[in-house]
Symmetry: C2
DNA sequence: CTAACAATGGAGAACGTTCTACACAATACC
DNA sequence: GGTATTGTGTAGAACGTTCTCCATTGTTAG
């Protein structure tokens, strides 16, 4: 062993055949006898040969899929990753993640880098670029976009049905007897269309209307502080709401703090619900009612669609994943 | 434009020079006149040329660094990533993350995959493989190991000074007047040596001894439930501790719940401290005293060491990052 | 018996870079 | 005026695969 790496030529020499034959066996291509198959497979095992992905890249596939993460702190991104890798576990594909940052510029740099590394396809999680940029990327490489409503013709999309999720919360609260239900959303500032918070707010409005109730949306931000400030404002009103639905769990935590400080007990004086079902929502001390997005299913679906695209499908698909409501201790009937 | 991708040959043709010349300019190599530099740079800009990483891989560098994550749910891994990318932001290197899973086998598969993709170096975060496997990987590619004590000659290591961190907590509690301080650790089950929880427990013991106090270590697990169970056992004792130091914040949350249920108020009846300073520790409603590991510094250091290794250093380095204690509302003087 | 065909294996040209070796010119030294 | 020396540019061979032909066998049909 001179240079470390075992190449296809080493295998060919060992098996006494040509490199072309080895390549055929490795790829499972047509035109290989059983005998050849056996010889080569044995040589591969003996030498511990693994194909060199970079060399493959120059001709065909790399069997590498890229997942661009817009925010590594996103609480359900681990679930999505697990869904992706789980779905791909028994295939030859490998998954690599690219931290894209939250700026359009850094995200573009990352997608470029992934394309330069000849990945076979890309999953973009909540990308913030414009539709035009997205289309340009999709023209260069198969793409599946996750978490952005209103997919385009050039790529596939997987979204949580945020309208439905918001509806589940409103239905639940109305079912408990609430009528004054406020919603805290994130202040719109990005140029990108179809971001989840917008859709959740719209779903909330639709559901309230369906129940014949007046909607009440306050825009702060999806942070603990944003939830706190929003709740404080809402709770200071004359006819304060009996329930607050925050568009994200992290904001719901701020709402809980505001309730604490106002001396209101939850859920007796105020019901609180969030969205995302982040890990700590299930801690007994928090026990936050929330909407769960099933990141596993989202990730698995995205992986599935991407592989289909790579292997030839050209018609574009948008898949909507239904969320479920997890009822916990922060919601209950209003005081009569 | 026929096939999409702009190659070095296209640039060479446009600038009227050889491909070798373009390559020199791109790499900033020696032997290029100012005039040549200008011509080529202009052609590159006009055509929007980007080097094809996979092709580069076959000869030299890929300018890609891999970070293997053992657990995507690890609460401070986003900080580490930010530290790494921040340190590398102004270089040519790109960072890709590989979800390695928590099994030795899947982690090995991921590191293999990264090597097959000709990455220039690897950062392994809390790998669970044996020292021998680690050494084998380090023989094939420059490696920096993060979060595992007792680094070896073949690779660099960055660790949090867990002994010091545990000491900070004990010193703080003793300073407040506590003498009965218990520690909850994680049940040892892995084959890997030098994992943080072991070192934290040892640091706790050392610090207690230094203060002339008796140590009291209980091993459950680093989960909310583990912290809860452990605390319940500790609090049922006759001379129950006045302070509990959990080796991880998630366990400390369980301790807080146990205190709630036992009707003990924090910090008057029981002081609680954690380790890791996870995001929610700073929420006002939790306000957990914790040890902060500064993931940014850890990540940045790891990136720095890896680049140095790649660029030629052969002597192995172990860097220890000092943690800091973040005092919040869950610790205070014991009741007299 | 020959033509046609299927099945199998191999030669060798890509793929887009890097990098060693060399060619050539201009300058410096004796 | 010849020989080093330096500076600048190019040719062309790698790197490890894939994949399109082509060559060689048998086999089958007529």
């Amino acid at each position: 062993m001179t240079s470390g790496r075992v190449t296809i030529a080493d295998v060919a020499r060992r098996a006494g055949v040509s490199t072309a034959a080895v390549s055929k066996v490795v790829r499972g291509a047509y035109g290989v006898s059983a005998e050849m198959q056996a010889k080569v497979t044995q040589a591969i095992d003996e030498l511990g040969y693994r194909p060199h992905a970079a060399a493959r890249a120059l001709r065909g596939r790399t069997y590498t899929l890229g997942v661009m993460l817009s925010d590594t702190r996103n609480p359900f991104f681990p679930d999505i990753i697990e869904g992706v890798t789980g779905r791909l576990g028994d295939t030859e594909y490998q998954v690599l993640l690219g931290p894209g940052g939250i700026e359009p510029k850094t995200q573009a740099r990352m997608t470029d880098a992934m394309i330069d590394r000849s990945m076979d396809g890309l999953i973009l999680i909540s990308p913030v670029m414009t539709d035009a940029e997205l289309a340009a990327i999709a023209a260069a490489i198969p793409v599946v976009v996750v978490g952005r409503h209103g997919g385009a013709a050039a790529y596939d999309a997987v979204v949580d049905d945020d309208v439905m999720g918001a509806g589940l919360v409103v239905d639940h609260l109305v079912g408990l007897g609430h009528t004054r239900i406020a919603h805290i959303t994130h202040l719109e500032r990005a140029r990108a269309q179809g971001l989840p918070h917008t859709v959740r707010a719209e779903g909330y409005r639709q559901a309230m209307r369906a129940h014949g109730l007046a909607d009440d949306v306050l825009a702060t931000s999806f942070t603990e502080e944003g939830g706190f400030e929003g709740a404080r404002e809402l709770l200071a009103r004359d006819d304060r709401p009996t329930a607050i639905f925050a568009g994200a769990d992290i904001a719901a935590l701020g709402v809980l703090r505001a309730a604490d400080e106002a001396g209101l007990s939850v859920p007796e004086d105020l019901s609180v619900a969030g969205y995302d079902n982040i890990g700590i929502a299930s801690l007994k001390r928090i026990s936050l009612t929330s909407v769960d997005q099933d990141g596993h299913v989202i990730g698995a679906t995205a992986a599935q669609l991407l592989v289909e695209r790579i292997e030839g499908r050209s018609r574009s698909v948008t898949s909507s994943v239904s969320p479920t409501l997890i009822v916990r201790g922060t919601t209950g009937p209003p005081r009569p």
